[in-house]
Amino acid sequence: MPEGDGYDYKIEAKAYTASSSGASVSPAESPDQELYHSKSWWTTYVFSQDAKYIGIQYFCAATAIAVLGLVLSVLMRVQLAYPGLNVLDPSTYYQAITMHGMIMVIFFLTALFLGGFGNFLIPLMCGARDMVFPYVNMMSFWIFLLSLLVLVASYLVPGGPTGAGWTLYPPQVITAGTPGNLWGLVLMLVSIVLFVVGFTMGGLNYVITVLQARTRGMTLMRMPLSVWGIFVATIIALLAFPALLVGGLMLLLDTVLGTSFYMPAIIATSNFGNEVSTEGGSPLLFQHLFWFFGHPEVYIVALPAFGIVSDLISVHARRNIFGYRMMVWAIIAIAALSFIVWAHHMYIAGFTPWFGFFFASTTLMIAIPTGIKMYNWLLTLWRGNIRFTVPMLFALAFFITFLNGGLTGMFMGNVGTDIALSDTYFVVAHFHFTIGIAPVLVVFGAVYHWFPLATGRMLDEGLGKIHFWITFVGAYMIYFPMHYQGLQGVPRRYFEMYNSSQASSSGLNEFITIVTIVVALSQLIFFYNIINSARAGKKAKKNPWDANSLEWQTPEMPPKHGNWGRTLPVVYRWPYDFNVPGASKDYIPQNVSPSQVRGAKAERT
C-alpha cells in the first residue's frame, strides 16, 4: 500500500477512542501488505490469484460437474420407473449411483461450499485483502480441476467407472462382479487423492486467513456465521480427509498390487469360482476409515449451509440473529461430536455389538446443538420484519427441509430403529433431505443473495421465484414419499425397484420420476437467469439488501483486486445490528463507529 496508509488508520483509531462507548478496537499490530498484482491477461483471468475470482472458478467447475450428477440421477430415475425403456443396464446403473453419489457429496457440495463460498466470502467478510497464500490458493483450484478431469475420464477407460456405490466397500469394489473394478476404481481413487491434495491447499488458506488476516476490530465473536460455518467445516475437513486419503491409498494397493489390507480369503464366484489369493485383510477396517471421513463429511457440507442460512435469515428478516453465541458454540459442538459418531453408518455391518450403544448415544446427542440452531432460526424470524425476497424463500425452504431430514435422522441414528430401516429407501430419503436438497437450497439462496456482489447486477426476481417454487415443491415431493417405501422394506441400490406385495409402489415411482424430470429441467431457468442477468440484469445499488456484514462495504461493487481500496475497514460491532432501538435506519453496518450512530442503543458485542 502507499505510504499514507499508516497515517490513515491512526486517524481512525483516534477518532474512535474519542467517542468510545464500550466496544474496543485495538490498533493494528502489523502494517497492511502489498498484494501481488497480475501482469497479464492469463494471470488475471485464468491463473488468477484473487480469492474472489478463484471462488467463482470453483463455483463454475463444481456446478458443471453437478450437472453431470443431475443427468445421472435423471437416468437412474427413468430406469427405476420405466424399466421397459432400458436406458441403463445393471452395470451402468451401479456406475451411475457411484458417480452420482461421489460427485454430489465431494466434487459438488464440498468444493462449492469451501472452495466456492469460502474463497469468495472469507476475505471480504473478514475485511482482508485476499487469502494469506494466494499462489497456493490458485494451485488448489487447478488441482481440483485436474481431479474432476480424472474423475470424468473414468467413463473412457476399459470397464468404465467403478460401480461399487459411493462407499467403495471392499471386497466388492475389487472383485469382478462389480463394473470398473480395475481402471475405473484406480481413476476414482486417484481423483480422490488429487481432490484431497487440492482441498488441503485451499483449506489451510481458509483457516489461516480467518485466524490471521481479519481486519482490526473483527474479533472472532464478531464474525458473520457464514464465516464461522465455513471456518469450522474446513477444520473438520482438514482432519477428516486424511482418513479418506489413507483408506483410499490402501485400497489402491489392494487393487493394483494385490495386497490384503481389506481383503480376507474369499472365493469370488464372479472370478469363475477361483479363490482370490488374499488372506487376513479386514473389510470392516475400510468401513471404519471411510466413515471416519464420511460422517464428518456431511457436516463439512452442512455447517457452511447452516452459517450462510443464518445470515440470509437475519438480513432478510431485518432482525439480529437470535443467540449468536449459542449458534457459534453449537457449530463447534456439532463439529466435535461429528468425530465420535461415525460407526452409526455401520450398526448392521457386523461389528462388536457393544459399539451400538456408544454410537447411538453420541449420535442422538448431536440433535441437541442442531436443535438449538433450528430454534434460533425460528426465534430470529419471530418478531422480525420479514422480506419475502428470493434468498429468504430459499432459506425458509431449507429450514423446513432440514427440519424434516434432521428428524428422520432420529430414526437412522438410533440403533434399535435403524435395524429395520438401514439400507432401505428411508435412508435415500433421509440423506437427500439433509445433505442433498437442504444444502442445495442454501446454495440457491446464497447465489441470489451475493450475485450482485459478484457481478454488480441483480438476478431477475420473477424467474427466481418460479425457480424457487418448482425446485422446493418438486424436491419435497420427490423425496418425502420415499420414506414410506423404505418403511415397507424397499432396499436401496436396486437396479429394479423392489415391489412389495403389500402395497405396490409402481405408480409412485413413475410420479417421482416425472417430478424429477420437471425439477431437473427447471434448473435451466436458473442458468438462464444467471447468464442473462450477468450480462443485462438490473444494475445493483450498493448494499442492495441493507446488510451489515463487511463484504458489502467495499469501495467498488464488484470489489476490485485487494477489495478495500486504500484503507482497510475497521469493525466496531457484530454483523447483526438490525433495527437497533434509537438508530435512524434499520441496519448498522459493522464498520460504522458508535460516534456515527450516537442515539442507537446497540448491545456491546
Binding site: 462389480t178 474369499i266 473389510p283 447411538a360 414419499p481 415397507q488
Partner: protein
C-alpha cells in the same frame, strides 16, 4: 403475494402430516417377535412428528404475522439465556426419550436366547444357501479353504459334528413357527445382507467373519429374502424365500433334506461314474 408463500409453507406442514396418515405404503405386516422395533419406530414418529408440526406451524405463524411492514417495531434482543437453557433441556429430554426404546431393542437384539435353533446362511454372488444341524444339534466347523465343488460349504471333513449337517443348496429356507432361530451369517465372497422385511431384522454378512442375529417367526406364510447390501451387478436379483410353517410341515420338509454325509457318498458314486466313463 406474500400470502401465497405463507400458504405454501402451511401446505407443506399439513401435507406432510396428511401423507403420513393416508399413505398406503407402510410397514409390511410383522411376522416376527420384533414388535419392539416397530414400537420404537412409532414412538420416534410421535416425538419427531410433534416437533415437526410444532416448529413448522410456528414458522408459518411467524411468516404470516411478521411480513414486512415499513414501520414495524422489531424486537432487538440478541440473547435470552433462560429461554435458550429451557430449549436445551427440553431437547435433551426428547433425545433420552428416543434413545431409551432404541437401546433396549438393541440390547435384546444382540442377546441370543439359550436354545435357539441354529441356521447357517451362506451367501455368494448371487444367491443363498443354508445349513442346518442334524440330529446332534451342532453345526460342523468350516473353512473357506476347504471349499471345493464337492464340498461347497467348506466343511471340515474331520469334524464329526459336520457329518449330519443338512445342506440346503437352494434359496428356499423353511422355519418352524414359534421357534427361536439364530442365523449364523457367512459370505464366501463380498458383503451381503440377509433381510426379510416382515422380520424387520438384518445384518451384513462379511467374508472372513461370522455375524449373527436372532428372531422368532410368529406367523406362518411365505416371505421374500432380499439382499440389503450392495454386492455387485446381481445385487437387486439376489432374492430367495423363507417359508414359516407348522411343526408337521416343517418336519416333512426337513426329512427331504440331504446331509453332508449323503452328499459325499453321492459325489463318490458320481466321480466313479465319471472316471469309468472317461476310461
Amino acid at each position: 403475494m406474500n400470502i401465497f408463500v405463507v400458504i405454501l409453507f402451511l401446505a407443506v406442514v399439513v401435507g406432510t402430516v396428511l401423507f403420513h396418515i393416508l399413505s398406503p405404503w407402510w410397514f409390511t405386516p410383522l411376522a416376527s417377535n420384533w414388535s419392539s422395533i416397530d414400537n420404537a419406530i412409532l414412538i420416534t414418529f410421535w416425538v419427531t412428528g410433534f416437533v415437526f408440526v410444532a416448529l413448522g406451524l410456528f414458522l408459518v405463524y411467524c411468516l404470516w404475522k411478521y411480513q414486512y411492514k415499513k414501520n414495524r417495531k422489531v424486537e432487538y434482543k440478541p440473547e435470552n439465556k433462560s429461554l435458550e437453557a429451557i430449549l436445551v433441556v427440553v431437547s435433551a429430554i426428547g433425545v433420552i426419550a428416543l434413545l431409551a426404546p432404541g437401546l433396549s431393542v438393541w440390547n435384546d437384539y444382540i442377546k441370543v436366547p439359550k436354545g435357539a435353533a441354529k441356521v447357517e446362511v451362506l451367501s455368494y454372488q448371487w444367491g443363498w444357501n443354508f445349513r442346518l444341524p442334524g440330529e446332534d444339534g451342532a453345526l460342523g466347523k468350516t473353512s473357506i479353504h476347504n471349499i471345493t465343488d464337492d464340498n461347497p460349504y467348506g466343511l471340515d471333513l474331520n469334524d464329526p459334528n459336520g457329518k449330519d449337517d443338512l445342506l440346503v443348496q437352494d434359496a428356499d429356507l423353511h422355519l418352524q413357527v414359534g421357534v427361536d432361530v439364530e442365523f449364523l451369517l457367512r459370505s464366501i465372497d463380498v458383503l451381503h445382507n440377509f433381510y426379510v422385511p416382515e422380520f424387520r431384522a438384518k445384518m451384513d454378512m462379511v467374508p472372513g467373519m461370522i455375524t449373527f442375529y436372532w428372531f422368532t417367526p410368529t406367523k406362518t406364510g411365505e416371505y421374500e429374502i432380499l439382499c440389503a447390501e450392495l454386492c455387485g451387478t446381481g445385487h437387486y436379483a439376489m432374492l430367495g424365500t423363507v417359508v414359516v410353517e407348522e411343526e408337521s410341515d416343517y418336519s416333512n420338509w426337513l426329512a427331504q433334506q440331504t446331509s453332508f454325509e449323503q452328499i459325499l457318498a453321492q459325489n463318490k458314486i458320481k466321480n466313479k461314474t465319471i472316471q469309468l466313463a472317461e476310461k
